[in-house]
Point group: C2
Amino acid sequence: MLRVREDAIVTAVNRLLAEKGYDLMTVDEVAAEVGIAKASLYKHFSSKEALAGAAMIRVLDRALAHTDGLERDATLTPLARLHATARWTMQVQLAGEMPSLPAQNSALRTALSANRDYLDRLFALSDRLGAWIEAAQDSGALDATLPAEVVLYTLFARACDPVLGVLKAGGQHTDEQIIDWVLRSCFRGLEARPPG
Amino acid sequence: MLRVREDAIVTAVNRLLAEKGYDLMTVDEVAAEVGIAKASLYKHFSSKEALAGAAMIRVLDRALAHTDGLERDATLTPLARLHATARWTMQVQLAGEMPSLPAQNSALRTALSANRDYLDRLFALSDRLGAWIEAAQDSGALDATLPAEVVLYTLFARACDPVLGVLKAGGQHTDEQIIDWVLRSCFRGLEARPPG
DNA sequence: GTCTATAAGAGGATAGAC
DNA sequence: GTCTATCCTCTTATAGAC
């Protein structure tokens, strides 16, 4: 029962973080969406920061599970795995399931940097992507003149790229069309490629 | 005198928006930084949203002035002008002078979409960049399979790309080195280019 | 136009009964 | 563990004297 209730809370937090972001999400809203009193919510999570941490842990676990599947598929190149991962993050974002945290909120960052369960997963995902990035650079598929950390941060940033939401809000294109464009602009750039 | 005082207010708002973002910036902080009482501030600007609008107008005017210079330089190709514009926005961001507004705050977006002075400048800049984008696509310099709006939104998004701040926070690289990497990843992509 | 003082309300967190 | 009721702080905005 406790696990089910906490899952419902994290689901609500995840959705609200994706919809309004951390600063505009209120604990009252979370409680209302779950259908419990705010005081009950605080019996499960000690603070608003802890709620955000739980949502981030859930999405990181989903990402790690997805990369597990990619790692097991031996037919994929490292570049193909990175492509697939970026595509997955964009699908999650367009589905309204990507919690977005402000980079500027220092109280939140302090709390997250003390959250071991969150950090473990963040490092695990970074390690896995970092290995793929270096392999892709060694094979000549990724630009080896870019530091691996630049590529890694860029992929994380594209997971919450506002361009996706703006294009979706325009209402002129399908989700898959939007993802194709943003994915292509990320990996192949805005400039034209020489033919061939 | 009034103009000087309001300039000082906008400068403070601009800096605080760049540092903490809209939601975490308080009107008390703005007043304290200018060195006046909060009530005096409200004699100049009617709301927090109006303050944000004034800061956006200032940075858009700076951008328009910069693009004026690029337009006048007849030796530049459209692609070179877009490069220079993106580089300029990244320099502004790393200098701590790029106000960043949350895409999710609907009260703010409502106020901005009723701010004619802001919209005029946003459209003027979009039109100028849009013309360069189409010219660069026609000449084969930019990927013509990407809709011009996708390119435009991507350039606006890179102006507040969090990757810049994360790399700067690492403290390992100079601003110019960081800008070179992010600019290259934007225009030429993460993938390696075929030699030649 | 500047100030001090304060209204009005939102929001995070807790007390204490059941 | 759930509830109602409440505390307390922060924040936007305004009143009213000078």
